[in-house]
């Protein structure tokens, strides 16, 4: 097996724990050695948050704002885990269409991105955005809506195979009583007999009423840490954990109080993490952010919005309550064409044009430190067929961005 360079390891680390690497980041971090680089990533702090303009619900300003956060050179693990929760505890602007209530929910996911899963879930459960998104709004004990009770279990905590209808029905009764004030955008609990439950009901082996007891029961269910930890493992490592690994992760997550930060640290320090390079598609938000940085156009936020819309992964617009799917579909021909469309807008980067070895310079610009023979062959063909340095630099950059290596994380 060929030796993996420190640059390749650090590039892998940054692909998984940020929306980069952005040009230059790998060189800087490699000086710390791989363990030092992992420590550095884990010690990173959240980006400061400045509230975007939320006044116009037809505007994509919050989307542009978030894409700007992702493209920030200081964006790291916290930003990356905020994106994870956005696709796990989903809320869609398509349905809610009220930035002023979606924003506080987004802030909750930021607050707890590397913190307590239980606290995040409790607060999100009764957040106006979630009440509107999954129909808790005006769900009463006399006319309970089962949507949230089902998804809370099926998608957020214990997984599809562990859900039975009795727990959905009873969960809906115990969660009933909330609605959203249309003027204030706040959640209101109506403490009346017609509205909420007046006795406890069995739910996931416990007797519960009220949202906090429902969430506690879901978090205490033995399937929960196993389901959620396996999904975080997949997100960071790119493979499904083995049954024994999954059991270990579940035990760790539970014994650390469902603290996401602790779990993520544990996963990044697992030797398997560094082995599983380029084994999953780079998701569109990751690809677009890294590609635009390599092209030197990170500040063109509307371009990023349009590109991500074409590629089917626009922040705040998950396709369903299950979030964005994972898997090889992100390498489909449609996506390849969409990537080609952005890549073909590449212009020459001066450093690449001036380099003695423009192929190496283009690869470096794109933080590609593990390159297949076939991709190298294609780049060398392009280099050999062109004499104009500027035009050649643009084409080489476009080809790097269009390569399988850049399409994978």
């Amino acid at each position: 097996m060929p030796t993996v360079t420190i640059n390749a390891q650090v590039a892998h680390l940054l692909r998984r724990t940020s929306f980069g690497p952005l040009p230059g980041q790998v060189d800087k971090l490699s000086k710390l050695g791989i363990q030092g680089a992992i420590d550095h990533v884990l010690a990173g702090s959240p980006l400061p948050v400045a509230t975007p303009d939320l006044t116009d619900d037809s505007s994509d300003e919050p989307v542009r704002w978030w894409l700007g956060m992702m493209a920030d050179p200081k964006a790291g693990l916290h930003e990356k885990m905020t994106w994870f929760w956005h696709g796990h505890l989903t809320i869609s602007h398509n349905k809610v269409f009220w930035w002023n209530v979606e924003w506080p929910a987004h802030l909750l996911q930021r607050q707890f991105a590397l913190g307590s899963f239980r606290q995040m879930l409790k607060q999100l459960t009764i957040s106006p955005a979630m009440l509107l998104y999954l129909d808790g709004d005006w769900s009463t004990v006399q006319g309970p809506n089962e949507n949230y009770a089902r998804e809370l279990q099926e998608l957020f905590t214990i997984g599809q195979g562990n859900v039975v209808q009795d727990n959905v029905s009873n969960g809906a009764l115990a969660l009933a009583g909330w609605h959203v004030d249309w003027d204030l955008g706040t959640s209101i609990f109506i403490d009346e007999d017609w509205s909420r439950l007046d006795h406890k009901v069995p739910f996931l082996g416990k007797q519960v009423w009220r949202y906090d007891e429902v969430v506690d029961a879901a978090c205490d269910d033995q399937a929960m840490p196993s389901f959620v930890a396996a999904k975080i493992w997949y997100y960071l490592v790119g493979i499904t954990p083995s049954p024994s690994k999954q059991a270990t992760l579940a035990t760790f997550f539970r014994s650390h109080g469902l603290d996401t930060g602790a779990l993520v640290g544990y996963i990044l320090r697992d030797p398997v993490f560094l082995q599983k390079r380029l084994n999953r598609p780079r998701y569109p938000v990751e690809w677009v952010t890294a590609a635009m940085a390599a092209m030197g156009i990170s500040d063109h936020r509307q371009t990023a919005v349009d590109q991500l819309w074409q590629m089917g992964q626009l922040p705040f617009y998950p396709p369903s309550v299950a979030g964005w799917p994972v898997g090889l579909r992100w390498l489909s021909p449609s996506l390849a064409l969409a990537r080609a469309a952005l890549a073909a807008d590449s212009i020459a980067i001066q450093k690449v044009a001036d380099a003695a070895d423009p192929v190496a310079a283009a690869l470096h610009r794109c933080s590609m430190f593990e390159v297949s023979a076939q991709t190298r062959k294609a780049l060398n063909e392009a280099k050999a067929s062109m004499t104009n340095k500027t035009k050649r630099a643009a084409v080489l950059l476009a080809l790097c961005l269009a390569s399988p290596e850049f399409a994978l994380a």
């Binding site: 037809s58 994509d60 869609s92 602007h93 398509n94 349905k95 269409f97 129909d135 099926e154 998608l155 599809q160 380029l278 084994n279 999953r280 598609p281 349009d306 819309w309 074409q310 590629m311 089917g312 617009y317 396709p319 369903s320 309550v321 299950a322 799917p325 898997g327 090889l328 579909r329 390498l331 489909s332 021909p333 449609s334 390849a336 064409l337 080609a340 469309a341 890549a343 073909a344 297949s372 076939q374 062959k377 294609a378 780049l379 063909e381 392009a382 067929s385 062109m386 104009n388 035009k391 050649r392 643009a394 084409v395 476009a398 080809l399 269009a402 390569s403 399988p404 399409a407 994978l408």
Partner: protein, 425 residues
């Protein structure tokens, strides 16, 4: 309707310059074996069309996201008409204005006055299509219609149309399903065959550089990068395959036969003009999905807005079916509609209609014109004042899968029984 807002937002930006681009790039199509360009000459006499053999059949789906009001398309007459006018005092269509459906075998149902061409041609109309437990959210109902998940029981990774493509499609074809919108449609998500999307205002050509030397180097190296290496991992192979199919699809798109004439200069006109060119070539594409960008979400001023929408549909569909006939493929192409729900039966004080449930769908092409399924009962609405479905989404979808494509419903749906008698044979 929020989804539409986003699309229209994008569309304005694209369409502004793209209309011009389309006019120039739709130039002379390549004469190619297997392409059937529009013949010059007289229209064939309109007659009942006998459906082509199953292997040759294609389907074009008009996806009317936003909630098309089926009741206004096919309003009731007679006794039910009284109930209709009582429930919709601000938005009813007078019986005198309705198109007469006696020739379709119905004296109790009329047709929207703007659908004159469709009326003249004849359509198979399925009445009261909906789901068992309706949801009033566009988002949720679109998801169910795209996934073919009537009861919202599955978080399926594939779409209903994508699953049909998987069964009937050629895995080596550049594409089996194609959406003519902006970005892939969840309805076409497939597991085994390629489904694509194409901007209806683009010529589908491969993205490249203007400079000829850059263009040559880029395309040549792209092809080299797209060569699958058997020694590489599955993700690498998938990425290279994706690149190879992308190029093949672009080559297909630029080899389509010439566009036909007579289409209105509307989004739907452009989309259907492109759909006819796609159907007129033996290219492996079996299902064309068209997101209709007209605004069906008529919460206010329903009568005028809906009439304008139907006028566009009627004109564009007429041009499309004429185009197919001139190309001699009218027996191979079925045109169908979907919409995530109909609209509330009682109208609101803004002269509009809120989100509803049961609706009506239309099928055109090799069909026996007429009304299928039972007319929904206006005197027995559901708890939200909506039409109770008389035909379920699964039954409608089963009709398309089994009746048109010969695919057993059980292969692509959980449940569903096809309606009989719709297709000619």
């Amino acid at each position: 309707m929020k989804i539409i807002d986003r699309r229209q937002f994008l569309q304005m930006g694209l369409a502004a310059g793209a209309g011009v681009a389309a006019a120039t790039t739709f130039g002379p199509g390549l004469a190619r074996a297997g392409n059937r360009g529009p013949a010059v000459g007289r229209l064939p006499v309109r007659a009942r069309i006998t459906a082509a053999p199953i292997a040759k059949r294609r389907m074009v789906v008009l996806d009317m996201a936003g909630g098309n009001d089926g009741l206004s398309c096919f309003p009731p007459k007679g006794v039910a008409g009284n109930t209709y006018r009582t429930l919709r005092p601000r938005t009813f269509i007078p019986e005198a204005d309705m198109l007469d459906l006696t020739s379709w075998g119905s004296s109790t149902v009329g047709m929207h006055p703007k659908l004159t061409n469709i009326h003249a041609r004849g359509a198979a109309v399925i009445q009261g299509v909906g789901v068992v437990k309706p949801d009033l959210s566009h988002f949720e109902m679109l998801r169910r219609w795209w996934a073919g998940d009537q009861d919202s029981l599955h978080n399926s990774a594939t779409g209903f149309l994508g699953r049909i493509c998987d069964v009937i499609g050629d895995p080596t074809a550049p594409a089996v399903g194609l959406s003519l919108g902006y970005g892939p449609s969840p309805s076409l998500n497939s597991a085994n065959v390629v489904t694509m999307s194409m901007d209806p205002y683009s010529d589908g050509s491969f993205p490249t550089f203007d400079d000829i030397n850059m263009h040559r180097a880029w395309v040549a190296a792209w092809k080299t990068m797209a060569e699958r290496q058997s020694t590489e991992t599955v993700p690498f192979c998938s990425a290279r395959d994706g690149a190879a199919y992308a190029k093949r699809f672009s080559d297909l798109a630029t080899s389509l036969p010439n566009p036909g004439g007579g289409y209105p200069s509307t989004d739907l006109g452009y989309q259907l003009m492109l759909a006819a060119r796609i159907c007129a070539q033996d290219n492996g594409i079996r299902i064309v999905h068209i997101p209709v960008f007209e605004d069906f979400d008529t919460h206010d001023d329903h009568l005028a807005r809906h009439a304008a929408v139907l006028q566009d549909i009627d004109t564009a569909v007429e041009a499309f079916l004429t185009d197919l006939a001139l190309r001699g493929i009218q027996d191979e192409v079925l045109l169908v509609s979907t919409s995530e729900f109909g609209r509330r039966v009682p109208d609101n004080e803004s002269n509009g209609l809120d989100h509803g449930a049961g609706s009506f769908v239309m099928l055109m092409g090799p069909i026996n014109p007429g009304l299928y399924g039972a007319y929904p009962d206006l005197s027995s609405l559901d708890g939200d004042d909506n039409l109770v479905a008389t035909v379920h989404m699964n039954d409608y979808y089963a009709t398309l899968a089994e009746g048109w494509f010969g695919v057993p419903a059980s292969q692509v749906l959980s449940g569903g029984t096809p309606l009989s008698g719709i297709f000619t044979s």
